[in-house]
Each structure stands twice: as C-alpha cells, then as structure tokens.
Symmetry: C2
C-alpha cells in the first residue's frame, strides 16, 4: 500500500487545482469537491491545510500576486518596449488577469489583499514613468499616475474583455494573428505617446504645455 505521504506535494496539488477552479469559476462558482477531485486529494485535507474555502481562496490570491510582484519593475524603461513586454508577460498568465477581474467584481474599489505591497508596486511604477519623463522618453505634461494606469489598461484589455476584443477585431485574443496585430499597434501607440514623431525626440514639455494644462497629482 504505502500511500507514501508527502505534505508538501499534497499542498501544492491542492493549490494548483484550486487556482484552476477559482480562475475558471470565481469564488462562488467554484466547488470544493471539484478542487478535491481535480487534485486527487481527499476533501478533508483541504480543510486540514487551509481551514475553509475562503482561506484557500486567499492563499491562491496571495501566491498569484506575489508571483507577479515584480512585473512593473522588470519592464524596460522605454515605453514601447515596456508595453510590448507587459503585453507578452500578462498574455501568458490568463489566470492572473482573471483573478484580478474576479477581485474587481467582488470588492469593487474597496480594500484588497496585500494592499500595502501592491500599492508599493505601483508607486515604483509611477517612479519609473517619472524617470522616463525626466529623460525625455515621455512628455512631462501628463499625469504619470493616469499614464501608468493607461499603459496597464491597454496591455490588459484584450484578456479582460476577450469577447469584446473578438467582436471588434474578428479574432479572439488567444489567436496568434491577434497577438501580432496588437504588438504592431502597441508600438505605434508608443511612438505617439513618446512624442518623437512630430518633433525631435528631445524634451516635449515646453512645446505641448499650452495644449494640456495640468495640475500634478498630490
């Protein structure tokens, strides 16, 4: 017999199966029995290791967010390269995007798990944008918070509302042709944003200042 015990492996199997289930169905749609079956672990063990369904859910979230904790820092400084990088990375981790989306629907704009760590991540992201601004890679007459948010929006969106992406473009975002077109577009967009089209790639600030009066965020 020898069921050959292996607590670590069991824990991992539960986490893997739970991620798949929660990502696919969300917290309410997920079934504890199904996670147990998928991981080929006795249901009782889920409760042994994680307490209850909600704590298991939180464990999944914590792990997923920790996994992607560096994705803004790891991005290149150049906005075009940064966008295509983010797009490529996030595109491969659909579960991550879906967990973000479930979270959005559950908590709205309320407090989230790992609030401070995640805020810190974005503080660094904003700092990165500001650095790019001072280097002249990005115009300085724009709120870096709003810009960062928009860069994320633009890279995330196809997986966020894939049905809409398909209805608009005719291709599902999982399709490699979609992928290629998106990357081409992102590069085009980066050119536009960085402002090096019309005038020399110098500092854009002065020239455009009159067009968009902007108060810096606090």
């Amino acid at each position: 017999m020898s069921v050959s015990r292996d607590p670590h492996r069991t824990r991992e199997r539960i986490l893997t199966a739970a991620l798949a289930e929660f990502s696919a169905k969300g917290f309410h749609g997920a079934r504890v029995d199904r996670i147990a079956r998928r991981s080929r672990v006795n249901k009782r063990m889920l409760y042994h290791y994680f307490g209850d369904k909600e704590q298991l859910y939180r464990a999944i979230l914590r792990r997923k967010f920790a996994e992607r904790a560096d994705f803004l820092e790891a991005a290149p400084d150049d906005p075009g390269a940064a966008m295509t990088y983010m797009y490529r990375v996030l595109h491969r981790d659909v579960d991550f995007i879906r967990m973000l989306e479930w979270e959005a629907l559950e908590v709205g704009s309320g407090r989230v798990l790992a609030e401070t760590e995640r805020r810190q991540l974005f503080v660094k992201g904003v700092a990165k944008v500001k650095r790019a601004q001072s280097q002249g890679l990005i115009p300085s007459d724009v709120d870096p918070h709003q810009l960062l948010m928009t860069l994320v929006a633009v890279t995330l969106f196809p997986q966020l509302l894939p049905q809409m992406a398909r209805l608009i473009t005719g291709l599902p975002p999982s399709d490699s042709r979609f992928h290629r077109k998106r990357v081409v577009f992102l590069r085009w967009l980066a050119e536009r944003l960085s402002g090096s089209i019309v005038k020399a790639p110098g500092r854009a600030g002065r020239d455009t200042a009159q067009l968009a009066p902007l108060r810096r965020t606090a």
Copy 2:
C-alpha cells in the same frame, strides 16, 4: 384585499431587482430568493415570467445590451470628444460594465448573447474611425480595429478594475477628483493620437480643447 394585479409592473420590478442582484453578485453568487425579496414579488412569479434563473439572467443581459446599443454611434466624430463622451456615459452605468465583465469571465472569447447585433455595433464603430481617418482627424497608418478597441479600453478600464485604479492613483474611480483628472488625461491622449501635436496645421489644438458636449452623429 385587492392585491391589485399588475403584470407589467411586476415584471419590471423583477427585472430591476434582478439586475441589481446579478450585477452585484454574478450568476452564481446571485440568489433567486433575494431577487424575490428585493422586488417584493413572490418567488413563484419569477418562474412564472422567466422560466428559470438562467433565462432571467439572459433577459437582463439582453435588455442591458439593447439599452446601450447606440453608444458608439452616439459618440462624436472627434476622437477627444468621443473618448470623454464614452467615459462619461459608461461611468454612469456601472451595472452595464459589470455585466460585461461577468460575461467575460463566464464565456471567455466564446459566443455571446446577441452576437450579430453586437458585432454590427462595432462594425459601425470601425466605420466611424475610418471616416475620421479619411477626414484627417486620426492618422491613417493604424489599424482602425485595434484603435477602436483601445479607445474603449481606455474609457472602460477604471471601472473594469477599480481596485487597481485606486491603488495606482490613490483615488477610487467613483471619486469626482478622479473623474476630473481622467478627463484631462483623455484629452491629452486624444491630442497625441490625432497627431497634430506640435504646430498642428489644423484643428487639433483649440477646437477640441473645449469639448463639444455630445454632438450626435449618424
């Protein structure tokens, strides 16, 4: 006595309560009993009018999508005005955005309700972008499908992942200060996209700066 029958009113009350419930909790999280209680209608009547939970859900979706069927057509031609218009309109209908989001998580990029009508809506949207391109409002060296998708992405995103919007900017997207900053940003972005940034030989600068409030176009 006189329970004073009113089939139409009852149906409406069910639909209203169901929208609130499904928008808040999604299909699996929604409770039929709660919809019945909220609408102060006997639960049996939901089944009388709509068959079962799923058909009620579909009825809600159909109605919501029909309501917003013209939102791309109603947008102004000018990209800056269009973006702020879309942002304003969608911002006010959080339920609509949430239902889109539940749909995304449920069907992925698979077939959706009212598939052909909704595709048609976007075909018209793309045509609109192309028209703007031929008028020189938007550069012609960009895929209109990808651009349209991105305009939608940029206007929708804060409500799509409000927790992320808050973590990045420090303000929830429901906050009026957030709103103001976003509109300023969208105008900046439109300037960039339309391409006549520096000494533009045309209308990019001042005309669009004061945002014509919804000029309805066919």
